[in-house]
């Protein structure tokens, strides 16, 4: 018998989770479609379901001096409209889905879903987001790249849920997100790219790239990025082919009903190149 839980607050949710495994549903925009049944029939869940979209403790965006804290169940559109939200994340959310989906979809849901084509994951990886998860007894904070382990695989124990997304406040000289979908909105990405750079007097202080939907998780390679810290803008531009080759081996897209691997790879490279060449 599949159980349903609608906890009234976070404490109750965590208490229930401490006793039994529940599949977590936030906005429902992914879960209801993935577990679809015939119209008019209830959603077909194979396990217990817990609805967490209305847990107040999981809402809101707050800040302190150096950090922004985004509630895991804060709707995407609200994140988009909030002044505290980093510009890169705003740009990404604006390209995602549609207003209707953004009104109920959440970052917690996107992260929990851990789809290789998840758009919001790309800026989160680039911004070095930290995911906070709680159980009844413990709070853990992990880097997003450690939290997401593979396609729809996350480091979340059965008694835990995602509570916050934590992002250090960063100002970039230039930050850019490009979603490449089959049409201009309301579509699953074929691939996506984010680039960010900070320089002072032409010296590079910070350089970050992230690619989405071209590997099982977002591609972020700090070991390539750090090779160019303290180099000049010109030196970076001169190294564009080197950088492209370095990333090439991590860009390993697939063929599917939306696109093919040649296109995804070539366009990822094009975007990377253009970002560098147009600095």
């Amino acid at each position: 018998m599949v159980k349903t839980s609608i906890p009234k607050n976070l404490a109750e949710a965590l208490s229930v989770l401490s006793k039994e495994k529940y599949r977590l549903v936030a906005g429902g925009t992914d879960m209801l479609v993935q577990n679809r049944n015939r119209a008019t029939l209830p959603i077909k869940y194979k396990d217990n379901v817990m609805y967490i979209a209305n847990l107040e403790e999981l809402f809101g965006i707050t800040e302190d001096e150096e950090t922004i804290y985004i509630g895991a169940c804060e709707p995407l559109e609200a994140i988009l409209e909030n002044d505290l939200t980093p510009k890169l994340l705003k740009e990404t959310i604006l390209e995602m889905a549609s207003p209707a989906i953004r009104h109920t979809g959440t970052l917690g849901g996107n992260i929990g879903n851990a789809s290789p084509a998840g758009d919001s994951l790309v800026p989160l990886y680039l911004l070095n987001a930290v995911i906070e998860v709680k159980s009844e007894t413990e709070t853990r904070r992990l880097r997003i790249q450690d939290f997401i382990q593979g396609v729809r695989k996350i480091d979340l124990a059965d008694n835990e849920l995602i509570t916050k997304i934590i992002i250090s406040k960063t100002e970039f000289t230039k930050a850019y997100f490009k979603k490449v979908g089959p049409r201009l909105s309301d579509a699953i990405s074929k691939l996506s790219f984010a680039g960010a750079i900070t320089f002072d007097n032409d010296i590079i202080l910070d350089l970050r790239f992230a690619f989405g939907a071209v590997n099982i998780t977002v591609v972020r390679r700090p070991e390539i990025e750090c090779l160019y810290i303290r180099k000049t803008k010109e030196e970076l531009k001169a190294s564009v082919n080197e950088i492209v080759e370095a990333y090439s081996k991590f860009i390993r897209p697939i063929d599917d009903q939306r696109s093919n691997k040649e296109y995804r790879k070539k366009v990822s490279i094009n975007l990377l190149k253009s970002f560098i060449e147009e600095l």
Binding site: T4, I6, V25, G27, G28, T29, M31, L32, V33, R36, A39, T40, L41, P42, I43, Y45, V49, Y51, A53, N54, E77, L94, A97, S98, P99, A100, I101, H103, T104, L184, S185, D186
Partner: protein
């Protein structure tokens, strides 16, 4: 079976049913509303759109469990308002209705976007409509209709 209470078209309602049901099915089967429609079943087309807390959502992707205490308005409820009268006239003036299947969803989208932004640009209108698919009109006259509604209804939003 759980008892769920929320507000529907301005009235408090209570229903005892499986909370894993989609809001769309509860609206159509239990409350016998036909405005929200099944066009795709996956939150892509917007034919099922309703207002939840005055914002557009796809009722095919909203579980009933998430509706507790919420304010839900379907086209049936919206059509009793004066804002609706302005929107309706604008849609008729601009010829924005053909087969009509997407239309209630488009009206919901209009109300949702004008509530947040009473005088949207063309680009903002397109963003506001981006989750509502139409196959008949090519969107042109719908966009014009929303512009007209915003203009004619100045002050209402």
């Amino acid at each position: 079976m759980t008892k769920i209470k929320f507000r529907l078209n301005g009235k408090p309602v209570a229903i005892e049913t499986d909370v894993n049901r989609r809001l769309l099915d509860v609206l159509r089967e239990d409350f016998e509303l036909i405005g929200p429609k099944e066009g795709c079943g996956e939150g892509e087309c917007g034919a099922c759109a309703v207002l939840m807390e005055h914002e557009i959502v796809n009722s095919c992707s909203v579980p009933l469990a998430n509706c507790i205490g919420k304010d839900i308005v379907t086209i049936e409820g919206l059509s009793t308002t004066s804002r609706y009268t302005v929107i309706r006239k604008a849609f008729e003036d601009e010829g924005a209705v053909q087969c009509g299947f997407c239309t209630p969803g488009m009206i919901i989208a209009t109300e949702s976007m004008l509530s947040k932004n009473p005088h949207p640009t063309d680009e903002e209108i397109k963003i506001g409509l981006s989750g509502n698919l139409c196959r008949c009109t090519g969107y042109n006259m719908i966009i014009k209709a929303i512009k007209k509604a915003a203009k004619d209804g100045d002050g209402l939003w």
